[in-house]
């Protein structure tokens, strides 16, 4: 044990009185807002829209066409995606050039940062209370896909919207298994660091388009 | 800046259970009123007497101890606190005509004297009422306004607002005056910058704060402001006089008495 650790722990332990946490009063349970699944969807859409994301409510069969339309509206003709999306997006391959992520980010950072205008990812689930999309990036959908390209398109299953973050953590037993990185995304990147004026696209995606699948 | 009257009133009432109207009360005059502004003490006594109460003013009382306590001299403050407790032996309410002294007597005495079991400190603290709180919540006074129509602003001390949680009661009293329109100044809940020794030890910061408070009060169309705390008023009135403004603050006891007595000087 290095000396800094030993010293810090010794100082803390020496000072800690015999009291244990049992001496503390019970922590009150926060009453979660009760919403129906339909209200959860409404709230999720409203909060994300308020936070400057674009939400498109679509059917599963419409994913590829929606992606094509929204890319063409922005004059974008290429899209980076995880390997899992290649089949689903095959029908737009002719007009939009689809690229999967590199074997590794190492050695490919320059192109990732400078030549990828848009990326699409799926999501693990979503949270109604805060309008958040939950991503557990993995080998097929790496972390930087939802971060580096200026446009992030994310597909969210309407059936996977949880009431709030606490409920999600408990129901999915997150404490037993967490991925390398889990991230909650609640809008496009933004900042109000200059004179409290909100500006989008600080460092992450300038635009977040949510395809909410019924 | 809108206050949250309803929520605070609710919080307030949920915190404290008020006794029925007593026959006798003590007045804690506060050292500031004693030395500098005695008329407000007399006016408070008269108002309480008009409600049918006998008001006792123990001559042994002095300062609540706040100046030393706030300066870090707790031992010196503690001695003074014990002395005050002994001056108010009867089990009757103690009405304090200043929010910050009220906060000291009601809350800080408990902390400071937590090892003094014999003094029945908790019972003493439980008998402490801020003046507007007592009128509103214990006496449930009904005021008949006799004065001419006018607009006034209300400055509530931070201690009354945050320690005693009674800022709603001063407002409630003024709202009973039919001819008085209460106007709200900007940054109403912000401190006037008094803070006791703070005003001397950090005079420039305190000065900047009181100058802003004066600016916001003057920006209203009120003819005066009313307050239940001489610390703040000494600060704000002093700044007003320094700036040669005619606008002034009046202690709420004097104001209520004047309005309900009809001598609207």
């Amino acid at each position: 044990m290095n000396s800094a650790k030993a010293n810090i722990l010794a100082k803390l332990k020496m000072q800690l009185p015999a009291a244990t946490d049992a001496a503390l009063p019970a922590e009150p349970a926060a009453a979660p807002e009760v919403r129906s699944p339909a209200q959860n969807v409404e709230q999720f859409v409203r909060l994300l829209t308020d936070n400057h994301a674009e939400v498109m409510r679509i059917k599963r069969a419409e994913i590829a066409a929606s992606v094509k339309t929204l890319l063409q509206q922005r004059d974008i003709n290429q899209l980076m995606c995880g390997s899992g999306w290649v089949d689903a997006l095959q029908e737009i391959e002719g007009e939009i050039s689809l690229n999967t992520f590199y074997p590794s980010i190492d050695g490919n950072k320059d192109t990732l940062f400078n030549s990828v205008p848009a990326a699409i990812t799926g999501s693990r689930c979503a949270i109604a209370a805060t309008g958040s999309i939950v991503l557990w990036p993995d080998a097929s959908e790496p972390r930087s896909l939802s971060l580096v390209p200026p446009l992030h398109i994310v597909v969210v299953e309407q059936s996977a919207i949880y009431n709030d973050f606490g409920e999600l953590i408990r129901k999915q037993r997150w404490s037993e298994q967490l991925p390398t990185n889990a991230v909650l995304i609640s809008g496009p990147s933004k900042t109000a660091d200059i004179q409290q004026t909100l500006a989008y696209g600080a460092h992450g995606p300038r635009e977040l388009v949510v395809l909410l699948v019924e | 800046m809108p206050a949250l009257p309803l929520a605070s009133a609710k919080r307030h009432t949920s915190k404290r259970v008020y006794p029925p109207k007593p026959a006798q009360v003590y007045l804690f005059g506060t050292c500031l009123a004693d030395t500098l502004f005695p008329q407000s003490g007399l006016d408070a006594i008269e108002l309480l007497e008009r409600q049918g109460l006998e008001v006792l003013f123990p001559q042994g009382q002095s300062c609540c101890g706040q100046p030393a306590y706030n300066s870090g001299y707790e031992d010196e403050a503690r001695v003074v606190a014990r002395h005050q407790i002994k001056q108010f032996p009867l089990d009757i309410p103690i009405v304090v005509i200043s929010g910050s002294c009220g906060g000291m007597l009601r809350h800080h005495y408990l902390d400071m004297l937590k090892h003094d079991n014999d003094l029945e400190v908790a019972a003493f603290c439980e008998r402490i009422f801020e003046f507007t709180e007592f009128l509103t919540c214990v006496l449930e006074v009904k005021l008949q306004d006799q004065g001419a129509p006018e607009r006034v602003a209300l400055h509530t001390s931070c201690a009354a607002r945050r320690e005693m949680d009674v800022h709603i009661t001063g407002k409630a009293l003024l709202e009973q005056l039919g001819q008085v329109e209460l106007v709200e100044h900007d940054y109403i809940s912000e401190c006037c910058g008094f803070g006791g020794t703070f005003a001397v030890k950090h005079g420039d910061i305190s000065g900047a704060m009181v100058q802003d408070k004066v600016k916001h009060l003057l920006a209203t169309d009120a003819v005066r402001y009313v307050s239940a705390d001489w610390g703040c008023m000494m600060n704000i009135n002093g700044a007003l006089e320094y700036q040669q403004e005619a606008f002034r603050g009046e202690h709420i006891a004097s104001y209520l008495l004047r309005r309900t007595r009809g001598d609207n000087a």
């Binding site: 100082k11 409290q196 | 931070c158 910058g193």
Partner: protein, 490 residues
């Protein structure tokens, strides 16, 4: 300390000197109308946002109570949780380093970077790294260390320190930022349009993320149960810094550990709503492992540096320990009438405002920060809004008490007794005597009222902006007595 008085310290001790300048700083900044306007505007914005974020007072109170108790529980188990955190993190492949002082933390970080032959570091927002003056230290070692949070980027460019813990560049308005960019960014086309200013920063920094060797961040919550580092942010720079470079070093204070993953959602909700009025930040980033086999991005090495820097001193006292409940939301400064007027730089400390006044004495010693505990009117606004219910005014009183403590008392806070002056102590003794002796008090009142014409016209700082009231012709006690006697006579 004196031995290095002539060199610029590249650790946290450099703030000792600036904290000592408090009074001069205050005078300087109070006299700057632009600065005062910038702070007032910013504080109005933030207090308003917070108010809107808590529509239900009951919900707010329940959540505050819950989070206060969560933090108190975690502090009561602190040593145990730190060990659990370390072992969980190491199981997950994240290496843990301990530092008692800011200098130790800087050395650990510099060595990690040098081991990778790193020369370019990008930093996410971290107040703890401000505490250690990490940028100065790395620069002295020839390592470029670039702030990437927009506010921090501006502040670093200006050669300043953050003036607010959440919005570091709040003291500057957009014209001042535009001027700064014009002087520092070649080819910048002068504009005060905020979108363009941000785009300019974005462009400059993307290249830096792309080529950095190491990323440094702070931590908002370190979860002992799972060995997870949580980062709260809006811009995405924290994610960039912890995703793109091959090494990620996080640094945090030992008080940031929470026991359970379940503790995180309420703390997160309270943090973002108290800080900026957001129900959640744009990104909530949870890091549990370095890049694993088969994964295509993410840092290959992740390190956590746990810093004490005086926290164990605060921990040792039950009352002062509450200081460590802080989740660094900044609400206390947003609502502070003193902070609003003097701004963040005047404090001279890393953490300004009410929380700065109660935490800095543990980091820098009470002697260097002796003017901070008294620079408060004790208005209570900070305690009223603190999301974890730290009784800040009470702790300020406690620090005042420590600062006037007599010699020979047991050591509680380094530098205690620094404000004790025999004359002042004597005056309070006399005052106490006066106020406990009815006879002496009555005589004093008699003298004051009869000698009212002796009241001076000038009385120090008080009469610089106010008049001084004269004692009344007769004190209240005499008038009451007369009144009683009149009645008895009737």
């Amino acid at each position: 300390m004196n031995t290095r008085a002539n060199t610029i310290a590249t650790d946290g001790s450099k703030y000792e000197a600036s904290a000592r300048q408090f009074r001069g700083n205050v005078a300087r900044d109070l006299a700057n109308p632009q600065l005062r306007e910038n702070f007032r505007g910013a504080m109005d914005y933030l207090t308003d946002k917070r108010r809107q974020a808590f529509p239900s007072e009951d919900e707010l109170e329940t959540l505050r109570r819950k989070c206060q108790l969560i933090k108190q529980r975690c502090l009561l188990k602190l040593p145990e949780l730190l060990e659990q955190l370390e072992s969980k993190l190491e199981q997950n492949g994240i290496q843990v380093h301990w530092a008692e002082t800011t200098a130790e933390a800087n050395t650990i970080i510099a060595e990690l970077i040098q081991r990778k032959n790193g020369t370019k570091v990008v930093k996410g927002k971290s107040m703890v790294s401000e505490e250690t003056a990490l940028n100065d230290h790395l620069q002295a070692q020839g390592i470029e260390c670039l702030e990437t949070d927009m506010g921090e980027y501006i502040v670093q460019m200006a050669g300043e320190h953050p003036s607010h813990i959440i919005m570091p560049a709040i003291h500057q308005n957009k014209s001042q930022v535009a001027d700064l960019f014009a002087h520092n960014i070649p080819g910048f086309d002068y504009t005060t349009d905020v979108d363009t200013l941000i785009r300019t920063g974005r462009q400059a920094l993307r290249d830096k993320f792309c080529h950095a060797d190491v990323g440094v961040t702070g931590v908002n919550f370190a979860v002992a149960e799972t060995g997870t580092l949580c980062l709260v942010e809006n811009e995405g720079n924290g994610r960039m810094v912890s995703t793109v470079p091959e090494m990620h070093i996080a640094i945090t204070g030992i008080e940031k550990v929470v026991e359970l993953l379940d503790d995180v959602p309420p703390l997160l909700s309270l943090l973002t709503r108290s800080a900026t009025g957001q129900i959640i930040s744009t990104y909530f980033n949870m890091i549990t492992h370095p890049r694993r086999e088969g994964e295509k991005d993410g840092p290959k090495e992740v390190h956590l540096v746990l810093l004490d820097n005086g926290r164990s001193q605060a921990f040792a006292d039950e009352e002062l320990r509450q200081t460590l409940q802080c989740i660094r939301c900044g609400a206390c400064m947003n609502h502070c009438p003193v902070y609003t007027r003097i701004g963040g730089h005047a404090y001279g400390t890393v953490y300004p405002g009410p929380i700065g006044k109660i935490v800095s004495p543990h980091m820098l010693g009470l002697e260097a920060t002796k003017d901070l505990p008294t620079a408060s009117s004790l208005c209570g606004a900070c305690g009223e809004v603190c999301p974890v219910k730290i009784p800040i005014p009470k702790i300020l009183l406690r620090l005042r008490k420590e600062s006037v403590k007599a010699k020979g008392e047991p050591l509680v806070v380094k530098g205690q007794g620094c404000n004790r002056k025999p004359l002042e102590a004597g005056i309070w003794k006399l005052w106490s005597r006066l106020n406990t002796s009815p006879v002496i008090y009555a005589i004093a009142m008699w003298l004051a009222s009869r000698g009212r014409w002796l009241t001076p016209a000038k009385a120090g700082a008080w009469t610089r902006v106010r008049t001084l009231p004269k004692p009344a012709r007769r004190p209240l006690r005499e008038l009451v007595k007369q009144r009683e006697q009149r009645r008895e006579g009737q």
